[in-house]
């Protein structure tokens, strides 16, 4: 009698164990996201999504690579109002009344430490005004300003190359087109400004 009870207990244990394992199996049946990600190492050809059209934006081929190969950045020279700089910076005499315009009186520098802000020629080439220059004296094209910014903001640049910083244009598929550093940040005052939010939310009803 006692033996039977013991046996039935065992049976109960066995049954509950098997029930539990079935449940566990069912839970993992869908394959968790992390498992799916880990097993997916085949690059996806996002060019085959034919609805990802080329954007009507002026872009240039980036001079660096990201994990998926080459990509494009938004061009900056065409988006800059007063480029090309040598139109004015050419050692020709100017009129006094144009002084305010020509001295860039509208540019306020909030870049760098508060008591030790950057000067114009920290980034702009003093000799060739149509170009930027990095701390090693290499000329950098305005369209590739990420190479200049990246010399100090190397952490942000690494994230930008990979896609954790910055912004892709319109499409997740198709050719990778990302914004340049100066598409979002004003290089003379790069921090984002405070402003009123675009909208507001009503209180939660629960």
């Amino acid at each position: 009698m006692r033996k039977i009870t013991y046996g039935s207990r065992l049976l109960f244990l066995f049954l509950s164990a098997s029930f539990l394992s079935i449940q566990l199996a069912m839970a993992s049946q869908g394959g968790g996201v992390m498992e799916q990600i880990e097993s997916a190492d085949e690059p996806f050809d996002s060019m085959k999504i034919d609805s990802a059209h080329q954007l009507p934006l002026k872009t240039v081929q980036a001079q660096e690579l990201y994990q998926g190969g080459s990509f494009k950045v938004l061009a900056r020279k065409d988006a800059t109002d007063r480029f090309r700089c040598s139109v004015c910076h050419n050692n020709k005499p100017v009129l006094v009344q144009d002084g305010a315009l020509f001295t860039h009186g509208d540019i306020i520098i909030h870049h760098g430490l508060a008591d030790n802000a950057l000067a114009c020629i920290d980034c702009h080439d003093a000799e060739d005004r149509d170009s930027l220059v990095d701390k090693q004296g290499r000329k950098i094209d305005f369209d590739h300003s990420y190479r200049l910014c990246g010399q100090c903001h190397f952490r942000q640049k690494r994230d930008w190359l990979g896609g954790a910083h910055g912004k892709r244009e319109t499409y997740w598929a198709g050719e990778r087109v990302v914004r340049n550093c100066t598409s979002c940040h004003n290089p003379h005052s790069p921090a984002f400004k405070t402003k009123m939010p675009e909208t507001y939310s009503l209180p939660l009803d629960e």
Binding site: A27, G30, G32, V33, Q36, I37, A40, D41, E42, P43, F44, S46, I49, S51, A52, Y66, Q67, G68, G69, R155, Q156, D159, G162, G163, A164, H165, G166, K167, R168, T170, Y171, W172, A173, G174, R179, C184, F192, T194, K195, M196, P197, E198, T199, Y200, S201, L202, P203, L204, E206
Partner: protein, 320 residues
């Protein structure tokens, strides 16, 4: 109910009954009857006016299947009907898509809590893109203003309205996380909500009975209910729609973020990610090792909200 009314109608229903036919054929023939003229009788006084074509379309719409059970032909038919109905009823030239999920695509999302400034451009873009009800100010996205050290939106302010960003605060957006193991799907008694193969959790608005079980089941406040007929100004209606996405909803149905299914299945970013001026929102294909989202998961500190619940959301938070 409607059927019985019809039997007493002017058409000879017994003729239809005499011939051997399935129930569906029977309904179809009735719909032809409806189109033939006795519109008022069929609708039982729902709408007094309206063309016979409209009545016929509405009748067919009423008896369509759950989207998942439809053949491609049936999907195309209902899409055509919806487009035609929008033209007749509201003079709108909508384009309803039934774009299938793409192969080898699983959508995922990442949100940078150290970059978000609380500008709420995303919320506004979402409202515009998804034809959300302006009357009740429905929003799929909620941005919480939090104190440092908090990682739980419930302790934050979700209805702030002042200049942002405030110093020493950070901002965390919450929306549908498109869980792989979604509790809302299990709660639905009519199977009106499910997870698509590309990971998007969708709702078939025509099969939703509005019981709101899914809303109660969701631990992330991801779902919204239409207490009234959603109102969108005609000139603001987004005409590019998807059957499972931003097509115009009706009163008494659930809706939710669909990762902008009408955009993302065409290769576009969701409206929120596209609108974000700070680049806090990263979207992409989780199955592509070269995608931005995979870079974030591999290289940044990431966490998921209420991960311990086992819902397996496809929405990560990360920080610089």
């Amino acid at each position: 109910m409607t059927v019985r009314e019809k039997k007493e109608g002017p058409m000879k229903t017994e003729d239809i009954l005499d011939t051997k036919s399935t129930r569906r054929d029977f309904m179809k023939s009735l719909s032809i009857t409806a189109a033939a003229g006795s519109a008022g009788l069929v609708t039982g006084g729902c709408v007094g006016k309206g063309s016979t074509e409209e009545m016929g379309l509405k009748w067919e719409e009423y008896f369509k299947k759950n989207y998942r059970l439809m053949t491609q032909q049936e999907k195309d038919d209902t899409v055509t009907r919806l487009e035609r109905l929008a033209k007749i009823q509201h003079d709108l030239d909508i384009q309803v898509s039934d774009q299938e999920p793409r192969e080898q695509v699983l959508f995922g999302y990442a949100f940078n809590i150290s970059r978000c400034k609380g500008y709420m451009d995303c919320v506004e873009a979402c409202v515009q893109e998804n034809n959300l009800d302006r009357n009740s100010k429905t929003q799929y996205i909620r941005i919480f203003e939090l104190n440092p050290g908090q990682l739980d939106p419930t302790s934050g302010d979700g209805k702030y309205h002042h200049e942002v960003p405030v110093e020493d605060k950070f901002y965390m957006g919450v929306q549908c996380f498109h869980c792989e193991n979604a509790p809302c799907i299990k709660a639905c008694p009519t199977k009106a909500t499910w997870r698509e193969p590309d990971g998007i959790v969708v709702v078939d608005y025509d099969w939703c009975i509005g019981c709101r079980y899914c809303m109660a089941a969701c631990p992330y406040w991801g779902r919204r209910f239409n207490w009234g007929q959603p109102e969108v100004p005609k000139e603001e209606i987004n005409l590019k729609q998807h059957y499972l996405g931003n097509r115009l909803r009706m009163k008494g149905v659930m809706e939710k973020c669909t990762f902008c299914i009408q955009r993302t299945r065409q290769g576009k970013l969701p409206a929120c990610a596209d609108a974000c001026p700070t680049g806090s929102r990263v979207f992409g294909n989780l199955l592509d090792p070269n995608s931005e989202i995979r870079f974030v998961l591999k290289n940044k500190k990431v966490f998921r909200f209420k991960e311990e619940l086992g819902t397996d959301p496809k929405f990560w938070y990360f920080m610089d």
